[in-house]
């Protein structure tokens, strides 16, 4: 497939946004049970503003993928059958909850909802945080399923796609949370960095597993099934036109196999190995964490490019020879 930069930025930006929200709310949940010191409203509030900025960036990027962006509202109508439609609903729903979460913290309006028998006070920000957390996971599932549900794009048609979208989004979000904490609440940076290391490691394992899986895939469709002729030697002599068409542009990445071979170790190094090494150093200075997040984000951009480029669409069987 041809990697579209709009979709690459959409998926990496909202992934980091969702991950950052999960990181902030994980911290608040720990703090609620007294496992960590509760931070100021500003910490959670401005953190969620950062979440919203990332999501808004992703949303803007997504519009560049549309031929008729003015009709984008229609894309929420087919949620019964289309994962893309479900994502279109889940993204603004999650943004709305993150906005509410940020608003409650920044305005300090935190009405009590219920007091648990143990004496634990649950206020509205916690309830909203739980809903937003669920929506963050729903959004990860929707984004992943957009690709995983296409059964003949076999590189994507695997539960690993959904798992990896979740883990990679979580990894970049927690790394960003560590950076955010290093700047605003340095005592908490270690907590986020620890989780960032663990999730990055899991994402590395997941992504490596999908690379191994994809390397062993045997194509189901062949030129024989494509044209329905049983003969071991079939060559296309003409695709029917000399100029290009949508079919020759949309489904080929247009780079050399050598480029593809280079980008694979590059993204594994940038998105996973180097951030893990930096996080493992244990020096949670803003500068070091900023480098870790930047490297990881660039690595994830490369990872997403590779994710698209590696998928080989069966329609390409029909477009082999100009003539």
């Amino acid at each position: 497939m041809k990697p579209a930069f709009s979709v690459i930025f959409l998926t990496t930006l909202i992934g980091a946004g969702q991950g950052l929200f999960l990181a902030l709310f994980t911290h608040q949940s720990y703090a609620l049970f007294g496992l960590l010191p509760m931070q100021s409203d500003a910490f959670y509030g401005y953190g969620s503003v950062l979440v919203l900025l990332l999501l808004a960036g992703g949303l803007v990027a997504s519009f560049f993928h549309l031929g008729r962006p003015e009709r984008a509202w229609r894309s929420a109508t087919q949620w019964r059958t289309s994962w893309l439609s479900r994502e279109v609903i889940a993204l603004p729903a999650f943004m709305g909850m993150a906005l509410l979460y940020a608003g409650l913290h920044l305005t300090g309006i935190r009405p009590e909802v219920v007091t648990l028998p143990s004496g634990l006070l649950i206020d509205l920000s916690i309830v909203i945080g739980v809903i937003a957390t669920l929506l963050a996971f729903v959004l990860f599932i929707c984004t992943g399923m957009i690709y995983a549900c296409l059964r003949f794009l076999r590189e994507w048609n695997s539960p690993l796609t959904v798992i990896n979208y979740t883990l990679m989004g979580g990894a970049s979000g927690f790394t960003l949370a560590a950076l955010y904490a290093a700047v605003t609440a340095p005592t908490e940076a270690g907590f986020f960095a620890g989780w960032a290391f663990i999730i990055t490691l899991l994402a590395f394992i997941g992504r490596f597993a999908s690379l191994v899986r994809n390397a062993r895939l045997k194509p189901k469709s062949t030129i024989q099934t494509a044209i329905g002729v049983k003969h071991p030697r079939i060559t296309q002599r003409s695709m029917g036109f000399m100029g290009g068409s949508f079919n020759t542009r949309e489904f080929f990445h247009g780079k050399t196999p050598a480029f593809l071979r280079t980008i694979k170790p590059a993204f594994l190094l940038l998105a996973f190995v180097l951030p893990m090494a930096l996080l493992a150093l244990g020096l949670f200075t803003p500068a070091l964490l900023a480098i870790a997040f930047t490297l990881q984000y660039i690595g994830l951009l490369a990872e997403r490019w590779f994710f698209f480029a590696q998928a080989n669409h069966p329609q390409n069987l029909y477009y082999q020879t100009v003539g």
Binding site: R68, S82, F152, I234, G240, Y318
Partner: protein, 243 residues
Amino acid sequence: MTQLALVIDLNVCVGCHACVTSCKEWNTSGSAGPLYDENPYGADPTGTFFNRVQTYEIGEFPNSETLHFPKSCLHCEDPPCVPVCPTGASYKRKEDGIVLVDYDKCIGCKYCTWACPYGAREIDEKQQVMKKCTLCVDRIYDMTMDEADRKPSCVKACPTSARLFGDIHDPESVVSKAIREDGGYALMPEWGTHPANHYLPRRKTHIKIHQDELERADNPLKVDRQLPKPGKGESSMEDVSAW
């Protein structure tokens, strides 16, 4: 239930591209607007087509065969492009099984093309909406036309009648009979899309002739032994006279 479809006979297709040009001519002139061509007379032309004719070489020279292969939307009975559409612009008509795109609803996200294993859809770079074969839906129901003309444009254009059009759910239709009797098959059956369009394979006609069919055993002259039968290499009356 009706499922309109094309059946393409690869045994007679000569690869003339008449269906391609006829399709383009009809569908670029309709009320839905032109099928956009970019740079049509320039160095690097590109455009939107509903139908293409491709050519394949089967085998290796000298034991090779040329196969011309027309390819358009197959109007799958279980079309994977339809459920993925986020706007409902892509739909399959219940009444005749034609898969269509509502150009007024399409947002040009191209997700349906990812979901079609056949590469049957092409985006219109000018209108920025997805386009595909309509089975000439604006033609086959047009009562102002003669009945003979109420067929897809490609079918009308084919000089060798390689393209048949009809309802594959009607067992007595010409297309159903062709599929049944001449080995009609679907493309990429492995994905379970159940394409409505079928292809008839290349086939050779073999006929077995026995010796008694060449020499009539019941030839009365032979039976009565009235005339001697000349030997195979000997001259006969036919060599010298022409009565």
